[in-house]
């Protein structure tokens, strides 16, 4: 990773709508170089997507989320990869992580209603042959996500003018 790559990733992580001109200003690199580096980062799949952080609770969209701890039997030659891939193909699944500790995979699931989510766990996830057990925890309130605080604003408490 070059310094420019790191700087651009930091800046885009903060605000992916910054213009090439602003990115060039801030990193001190010419605009063409900035464009080239971003292009390379996209092509090499370092940057996968530019998406906003949304507080769905403030919308009228019905939505429930759960974190499911999944214990699985690893498969010969494939380890956990095969079962992880099997699980992430479901549309309900937002994230899948291989974990150290008491269980193997952490699966973040989203559905419209509690019922839909329960049915996903009981009929789709638990019935997979390699899954030996699940423990589902529902998200009740989100406080902070992707470094952004959700409950209330971080106010600027500085004096408006100071010497």
């Amino acid at each position: 990773m070059t310094n420019l790559e790191t700087a651009l990733l930091d800046l885009l992580k903060e605000d992916c709508r910054l213009s090439l001109e602003k990115l060039a200003d801030m990193t001190g690199a010419p605009m063409t170089e900035v464009a080239g580096v971003i292009d390379r980062l996209e092509k090499s799949r370092v940057i996968l997507r530019y998406s906003p952080v949304i507080n769905w609770d403030l919308t009228d969209r019905e939505r429930v989320e759960a974190m499911i701890e999944v214990r699985v039997t690893p498969q010969r030659d494939m380890g956990f990869d095969a079962v992880a891939r099997r699980i992430y193909r479901f549309d309900e699944v937002k994230s899948v992580y291989l974990m150290s500790g008491a269980y193997d995979l952490l699966v973040l699931v989203e559905a419209r209603t509690l019922k839909e989510l329960a049915s996903f766990v009981s009929s789709k996830l638990s019935t997979l042959e390699t899954v030996t057990g699940t423990a589902t925890s529902f998200v009740l309130k989100r406080y902070k996500e992707e470094g952004v605080i959700f409950d209330g604003e971080e106010t600027d408490r500085r004096l408006v003018i100071s010497p």
Binding site: A7, L11, E14, D15, L18, K22, D25, M26, T27, G28, D156, R158, L159, V160, I161, S162, P163
Partner: protein, 395 residues
Amino acid sequence: MTYDRFLNPCIVAVPPSGIRRFFDMASLMKDAISLGVGEPDFKTPFHIRDAAINSLVDGDTQYTANRGMPELRAEIAAYLADRFSLRYRPEDQILVTIGASEAIDLALRAMLSPGDEVLVPEPSYVSYAPGVIFAGGVPVGIPTREEQDFRLRPEDLLSVITPRTKVLILPYPNNPTGAIMEKQDLEALTGIVKDRDLMVISDEIYAELVYDGKRHVSFAALPGMEERTLTINGFSKSFAMTGWRVGYICGAPELISVMNKIHQYSIMCAPRQGQIAAAEALRAGRENGYEDVIRMRDSYDRRRRLMVSAFRRMGLHCFEPYGAFYVFPSISPTGLSSEEFCSRLLKEKKVAAVPGNAFGPSGEGFIRCCYATALDKLNIALERIAEFVSENARR
């Protein structure tokens, strides 16, 4: 009842800060974006806050030694040696103060006799000249110019020295200009300081905020200058700890002990929690290569570049500031005075900046904009300033 008889005329005569009026105006505009702040937009890193919280839980609520907690002074000595090649003994050369502000006041009060002249390069921080007057001295401004990158040149220094000159204040990296003094700039002054028998108060509160691969050079680190320098620094800017009020002053034991005499009778000691937090800041920094400081500096640097480019694109001359967190663009293409520019910008575009002349007469024609503000706000503010400048460009 009239209180004239009870008030000290010397202090009454000092004009109120030029910033005050702006503060009153800007405070009334709730939705204005302020580039008028003089402090970091970061909160104190949490591990530092946590150290203070734990100390309260543990009941650390007593006075400390007048000069500051021994562990903090030891950390300060190690830090200054590590970062700026300064060698101060924690026992008798370091005094922990209530921010760098108290340190400036102590240094002036300990050294000045009535009528002594103190040289103050300007534009610079607003408290030096009043501090000199409060201590019975006479402040003498040394204008610095944009053409010289707002650096203090030996010929400018020589031109204002009189037999009454006792002290030179070196306010670099500079608030409001963002100017720095590099090694050769400082070296050009050492001969004069020695020959004319001056003491230097080097206010290095922005020492960690120097950009573009440059490093801050402490005046006391130059050969022969340690004995002629009082080095002031603190935690406010480098560790985002403004509200904690912890700073320090270092120098010859003979001077530090006199300052400590004033400090012990008027202040007793800097607040204990602030000192504990400060010690944690330096301890962690020593162990992790000052990663908090570097992270914040990198973030300022990107915003600094953004500001300079944006002002230049507006057609304003903007000197490249290598230090602190301010840009100081010239507003001469508008033909407005600094005060007019800032008050109209505030009223018409809801952006607060500080008129350059608040920092001394040579700041006229400039405005100070602080870039320690969230990037999205900074971008909006810059768009509004660009609009204002194009509306007011002289035809």
